[in-house]
């Protein structure tokens, strides 16, 4: 990604906050079985999927909003949200990118995600999801050569119904939790990835999510299946316009790593965080989970700088012997943002190993919590976990919390957890300023240093972006 693109994307304020004036086909707000039938019909889905959705919806109706997270927000009126919005020009689905409304493509260019393959950074295939629908996936032909399937989940439902039916909900069951149930009922689009046995995916796969329409929720669903011995690296980016009201994003991501497979899932989450007074912003309530079979590895890396409220715990079920789970996270909150994020490592397999590195940065009046669970089941002979949770506080009105749950039922399992807190000290600032750096640059340098163990895990071009993002997000955090 070129420097200009980065600069453009990062801009000065929340630069992804523009609204695109694209005619759209939006369902009126409200949620009931008819809405679900409408979505399903619109997508021409098979009967089983409609039933699946309705079942999830009925489950959701019986569930209560979870309150255990360390976040505080107005209750969400689910009838105020529109559950389907598609750009008008999608009525007749484009067959290829060339047929996509040029205005839409422009939106993505503005975001720094040109969809035209010739402009693409070589080696990254992109699926872009705009409000409720996927607008096109690049590099499909090249991927197909390797046998890799990368398309929108809606297409997958039609083209690979057996795979979808087999794996959808296999990692995150329909009634797993309140938001996952909601997603299962109303999910509109998302990405589908299938890497066949023994294949090393020839390029990074990437999805960009964008919420554009007012009062819409985004409920995407991602399903990645890595067959035996395969490898894939997947990147996810998110943006949304600046709006005064809160918008809901409730996604579900399911990863399946069969024996000896490796999935690396990286996210740079930059949803609109609301303004400095906490007005507006995205509510990001996401369920991400992977199942790792024998000797497989699932690695979550996330850089979370956006959203008004984040509720997110990318997790690994280490089902297989010698499986590996990793979670590397930077979560930055500023102004009035609230984040409650972390991971769960459920050790079932013998000698399964997990590593958790979490870096929380709280500035302004924000609140940033790490919440994690490490569970060693009775059969997790010789399993190991190492967790390191560091918090950095900037300014004396922010808050940082650590809530690690450790449950062990196996005497041979080893769990090590450490947490520290620190601040950007006046001495550090003074030293930097002495060397001619302004305070903001100094803070950004210190923060980047604090996060480097996580940035190291990101694919190259994301790492650069992540650093810049932090810089922007920290704007105004020092006097």
């Amino acid at each position: 990604m070129s420097q200009e693109l980065i600069d453009e994307r990062i801009g000065k304020e929340y630069s992804a906050g523009f609204v695109s004036d694209i005619e759209s086909d939006t369902l009126p707000p409200g949620l009931n079985e008819d809405v679900i039938r409408f979505i399903s019909a619109k997508k021409d889905e098979p009967e089983w999927l409609l039933e699946w959705r309705l079942e999830a919806y009925r489950g959701w109706l019986e569930m209560a909003t979870p309150h255990w997270a360390h976040v505080d927000h107005e209750p969400i009126d689910y009838n105020e949200i529109s559950y389907y919005s598609s750009p008008k020009s999608f009525e007749d689905r484009p067959q290829s990118l060339d047929e996509v409304d040029p205005q839409l493509l422009e939106v993505y260019e503005k975001l720094g995600i040109p969809l035209h393959e010739q402009e693409m950074l070589a080696g990254v295939a992109v699926d872009a999801v705009f409000d409720s629908v996927s607008i096109g996936t690049t590099f499909r032909a090249k991927l197909a050569e390797a046998g890799v399937i990368f398309c929108s989940i809606s297409e997958a439902v039609h083209e690979y119904p057996d795979l979808v039916r087999k794996y959808l909900g296999s990692v995150v069951p329909r009634r797993d939790n309140y938001y996952a149930a909601l997603n299962s009922a109303v999910f509109t689009d998302g990405s589908f990835v299938f890497i066949p046995k023994g294949v090393r995916c020839p390029m990074e796969l990437s999805t960009y999510f964008r919420i554009n329409e007012a009062k819409t929720g985004q409920f995407e669903r991602t399903l990645i299946i890595a067959e035996e011995g395969s490898h894939v690296s997947y990147l996810e980016g998110c943006t949304a316009p600046m709006r005064d009201e809160n918008q809901l994003h409730a996604a579900v991501v399911e990863l399946v790593a069969l024996d000896d497979a490796q999935i690396k899932y990286s996210t740079v989450q930059n949803w609109y965080p609301g303004d400095a007074n906490g007005l507006g912003g995205i509510y990001n309530f996401v369920t991400k989970r992977g199942v790792a079979h024998n000797r497989s590895r699932i690695s979550w890396t996330q850089v979370e700088t956006g959203s008004a409220v984040t509720w997110k715990y990318p997790s690994c079920i280490l089902r297989g012997d010698d499986s590996v789970g990793e979670f590397y996270s930077v979560a930055l909150t500023n102004n009035c943002q609230q984040a409650d994020t972390g991971t769960k490592m459920i050790h079932l397999g013998k000698r399964s190993r997990s590593t958790i590195i979490s870096k929380g940065i709280s500035a302004g009046r924000s609140s940033n919590a790490y919440r994690g669970l490490v569970r060693m089941s009775p059969r997790a002979e010789g399993a190991r976990n190492y967790t390191q949770c560091d918090s950095l506080l900037i300014g004396d009105r922010s808050a940082a919390h650590t809530f690690p749950y450790i449950e062990s039922r196996n005497p041979s399992a080893v769990v090590e957890h450490e947490a520290t807190t620190s601040k950007v000290s006046d001495d550090q600032l003074y030293l930097c300023q002495q060397r001619g750096l302004d305070a903001e640059k100094a803070v950004s340098m210190i923060v980047n240093g604090f996060c480097k163990e996580v940035f190291r895990e990101l694919p190259m071009e994301f790492a650069v972006e992540a650093g810049k993002l932090l810089e922007v997000s920290l704007e105004g955090s020092v006097g």
Binding site: D396, T402, P404, Y405, R409, V414, H417, A419, T421, K423
Partner: protein, 437 residues
């Protein structure tokens, strides 16, 4: 409270309590009646099931106890000793050794000025809404111990309070309360020992201790939870530290089906310091739960906390250690360490060290580990001819011994060594004698 839980003991307490406790009773009872027992869905009780106390209990009765049998189970640190049997003060087992600057009174026979002092401080540390079982304790108060240390006084010999439960034919409940008021710049030690003689009937002890440490006071506190069998205990230790006060608190939990202790320390004056160490050693099917909370409400206070557990057989343990730094509490230093050893395939530990931080200029850290004994250490011992089993015993003992070695009272340290050596089936008596010979 559904099922009118604890109605009989509450009625008995009303009948026995001095009049001036009536006001405290009323409010606490109202709250107790309105509350319901926590379930596994209650965050604070996620890993501890209290359904065992959801049954009818009769009040504890005074019975006579063989002094030698008691002495064999409790430490002897010299100094004043108060013994309560099933909640009733036993003058025959008690001894008073009036030390200068120390005043010991029981709620039941407090004179007017003492009653006034007790009323002023009772419940001031553990508020009504802090802890359901402290509320129950206040509701069921009839007697308790009030210790007052004069400003500037240094009391060398520890005061011992022994809370004994012993067989009754029906399941019985015992309410025990300690209130300590340590005056400005005073220094004293208190040893609380909870112990039981085994019997067929279950007992439920609710022991709540409140500590008010005034400016510059130093208090060494030891709380040994040694009840055995089906003697259940749910209780708490609540301390309020004024400016420059120091509270050192040592805890040991072992021996019975259920123990749950909440330790809450409030740093309310600048420069206050708390050191809390603890050991939990459940085995068989025992369950022990320590919930600790360091409330740092003002600047420049320090706290350090170390808890270790060895969980054997099919036993389970819970440790929840919270450090809460309030927005004003700049320059706080707080650390917490928790280490656990599981010595059997059925043993279980649930631990959660928590940080909740609202101030930036602080030094806070915690660490928690669950592990087996260090393989290299086992090998080192084996390379000297010691069997694997024996090596494990030695190392487990060593693991807890580190905290015992840090105990300030020599007499108590010796008592603990013997007790733990026996627990880890080592010949403790011989060893310590040799080491001292």
């Amino acid at each position: 409270m559904p099922n009118n839980l604890m109605q009989q003991p509450l009625a008995a307490a009303s009948a026995a309590a001095p009049n001036w406790l009536a006001a405290a009773h009323a409010e606490a009872r109202e709250r107790w009646q309105a509350a319901s027992l926590p379930t596994r869905k209650t965050e604070q009780w996620k890993y501890t099931d209290v359904s065992a106390i959801d049954r009818e209990f009769v009040p504890g009765r005074a019975v006579s106890v063989d002094a030698a049998a008691l002495d064999a189970r409790v430490p002897d640190c010299g100094g004043a000793r108060l013994v309560f049997v099933n909640g009733h003060y036993d003058p025959a087992l008690s001894s008073s050794d009036p030390a200068a600057g120390l005043h010991v009174a029981r709620f039941a026979d407090a004179d007017e000025s003492q009653a006034t002092l007790i009323q002023a401080h009772l419940g001031s540390v553990v508020g009504m809404d802090r802890h359901l079982f402290a509320t129950l304790n206040s509701a069921a108060l009839s007697d308790g111990v009030f210790l007052q240390v004069d400003a500037g006084a240094t009391v060398h010999a520890p005061v011992q309070v022994i809370w004994l439960t012993t067989a009754q034919t029906e399941a019985f409940a015992v309410n025990q309360r300690l209130l300590v008021l340590a005056g400005d710049n005073s220094a004293a030690s208190v040893v609380e020992t909870f112990v039981s003689f085994e019997g067929e009937a279950a007992s439920f002890t609710n022991g709540v201790s409140e500590f008010v440490l005034q400016r510059g006071a130093t208090l060494n506190h030891y709380r040994l939870q040694l009840e055995t069998g089906s003697a259940l205990h749910i209780g708490g230790v609540h301390a309020h530290l004024d400016r420059d006060a120091t509270f050192n608190s040592f805890h040991l939990g072992m021996g019975s089906d259920l123990k749950r202790i909440d330790i809450v320390i409030e740093h309310a004056g600048e420069g206050a310091h708390a050191e809390v160490n603890g050991l939990y050693l459940p085995r068989g099917r025992e369950h022990i739960d320590y919930h600790t909370c360091m409330e740092h409400a003002v600047p420049r206070c320090t706290s350090s906390e170390t808890f270790r557990g060895v969980i054997a057989d099919a036993a389970s343990a819970v440790f929840n250690g919270r450090i809460h730094i309030h927005p004003q509490a700049q320059k706080t230093s707080a650390i917490l360490h928790n280490r656990n050893l599981l010595t059997s395939a059925e043993a279980q530990i649930n631990t959660k060290p928590e940080l909740e931080i609202y101030a930036d200029d602080v030094q806070c850290a915690h660490g928690a580990t669950v592990a087996q004994l260090d393989e290299l250490s086992v090998h080192y011992l084996r390379s000297r001819g010691i069997s694997r089993d024996e090596a494990q015993v030695l190392l487990s003992f060593g693991f807890v011994n580190e905290l015992v070695n840090a105990v300030r009272s020599e007499a108590l340290r010796e008592f603990l060594r013997h007790l733990l050596a026996a627990r880890f089936s080592r010949d403790g008596a011989a060893l310590t004698q040799e080491a001292d010979a």
